[in-house]
């Protein structure tokens, strides 16, 4: 699939246009439909919420972003790390993998109350929830990617007495990168959800916490703003992962 520069610019422009159209549709829906502002505020009211009340947006934003990025970074490091251990030790993989597959089926959100019991509440448990939900797609796809090596390529390296380390660094790991990134993209979305659920369950800071606070006062505009900011954290994280993938993985090798 080849795209020229012009096609890319056109697609980007179209994406921006569609987003603007969505905001416009939102605006006219509220205004023309005379929707009460506590049900749905207009886009302008939503932005105004940033400056109304003492919501400490900056602090809450940083808290939530910290939980998401922290949990995600942990999931990437530990996820790839454990997959590497599996690929180096067949025994570990055979023993641990079936367990991971089962653990993956646990709805991690359901662990939230437990994690809060174990880690108290606040930044740490929310980071742990984000980690626990983001970890599985990364470890599973990385392990899969590390397994997908052409046996004949290994023959080729071994026929000139190449080492296992050379096979790993030159063939196995670069070959696994597209899989790793596909797991990381799924995990980026999940990490956001994990941190917010943690904040819903118990915390005294963060955008999820803020949403619960303003829910009581029916400040719907602030809730909308919070959702938008949470989404933006997710977009930034996803964008960083995509940029890293573009830099590290040749287009044809990418797993979409």
């Amino acid at each position: 699939m080849k795209t020229d520069k012009g096609g890319e610019a056109r697609r980007f422009g179209l994406a921006v246009l569609m987003h603007l159209l969505l905001v416009a549709a939102w605006h006219f829906f509220v205004v023309l439909g005379e929707v009460p502002s506590f049900v749905m505020p207009t886009p302008v009211d939503t932005v105004k919420a940033l400056f109304a009340g003492d919501y400490r947006w900056g602090e809450n934003l940083l808290t939530t972003a910290g939980e998401i990025f922290g949990g995600y970074a942990l999931a990437v490091v530990i996820g790839i790390g454990s997959a590497l251990i599996f690929s180096w030790s067949r025994l570990t993989e055979e023993v641990v993998m079936p367990l991971l597959v089962s653990l993956n089926m646990i709805p991690k959100v359901a662990l939230g109350p437990l994690i809060i019991v174990w880690f108290s509440y606040g930044f740490l448990p929310n980071t742990v929830i984000a980690f626990s939900i983001a970890y599985f797609p990364i470890v599973l796809t990385t392990a899969r990617g590390l397994r997908e090596v052409e046996p004949e390529l290994i023959d080729l390296v071994r026929s000139i007495r190449g080492s296992r380390w050379q096979i790993f660094t030159k063939i196995q790991f670069p070959g696994a990168l597209p899989y790793i990134f596909s797991g990381m993209k799924v995990a980026a979305v999940l990490a956001v959800a994990g941190a917010i659920v943690g904040e819903f369950l118990g915390s005294e800071r963060g955008l999820g916490y803020l949403m619960l606070q303003v829910q009581v006062t029916l400040d719907t505009a602030a809730m909308f703003m919070a959702v938008i900011l949470i989404t933006m954290i997710g977009v930034v994280l996803y964008g960083l992962v995509l940029a890293l993938e573009r830099a590290m993985v040749v287009r044809d090798a990418r797993v979409s």
Binding site: E152, R158, I160, R161, K170, I171, D252
Partner: protein
Amino acid sequence: MLVSPDAPAPFIRLQGVSKVYRGRGQDFLAVSDATFDVAPGSLVSLVGPSGCGKSTLLKILAGLHGHDDGQVTIGSPQHPFDPGRDVGMVFQAPLLLKWRRILENVLLPAEILGLPMAAARERARALLAMVGLAGFEDKYPYELSGGMQQRASIARALVHDPKLLLMDEPFGALDALTRDRMNIELLRIWQESGKTIIFVTHGVQEAVLLGTQVVVLTAGPARMADHFNVDLPHPRRLALRNDPKFGEYTQRIYHLLGLD
């Protein structure tokens, strides 16, 4: 024997080589009594049906598999052979690394052997030119056709200047026309490089067209059925296939494979 007394010492000598895969409950004889000599610089076709042990034999020569019986000797005083670096391999699939440009793909064996990279780069460029890929050094594999990818994999197999080139059905996945072209190309590359090549195929015509010597292997049970020199002039062309002598050779192989 095929080797006359005043002929140079063989580069490869196989004597009664056999290999058994031990499976659950049942052993599988993959190669039996393979006995033949290979003169330095020759191109030997190993031809036979699936399960005749031709790929196994290739892996034994590559030092990837041991053997159970017999003797394998590679190298001679005039042509010393270092099993750790004198093997180049080409497979049915090009197996290029998708994330490397063609030149970097060709350099892989040089990197693994820790050769001086500046010289290796030079050599890789020259090899790419020899296989007809000058100008494609900076392309990625997906930008090349299957036949071009296979040419690149041949260049890769030669980059560390191995004495022995082992090819396992290298053109088996290509369309018939590309395969014809690659056959002629391989003959040219072989003559230019002077390598000893072992060429595994199940194409009878291909085996005779390419080989200075043909080894016929049969399956069920695996055994070496015949080996003979192909006394046809070089450089060979595709039209050689219409030569009555060519027909005699292919007929001889078809007969051994029970296909006449």
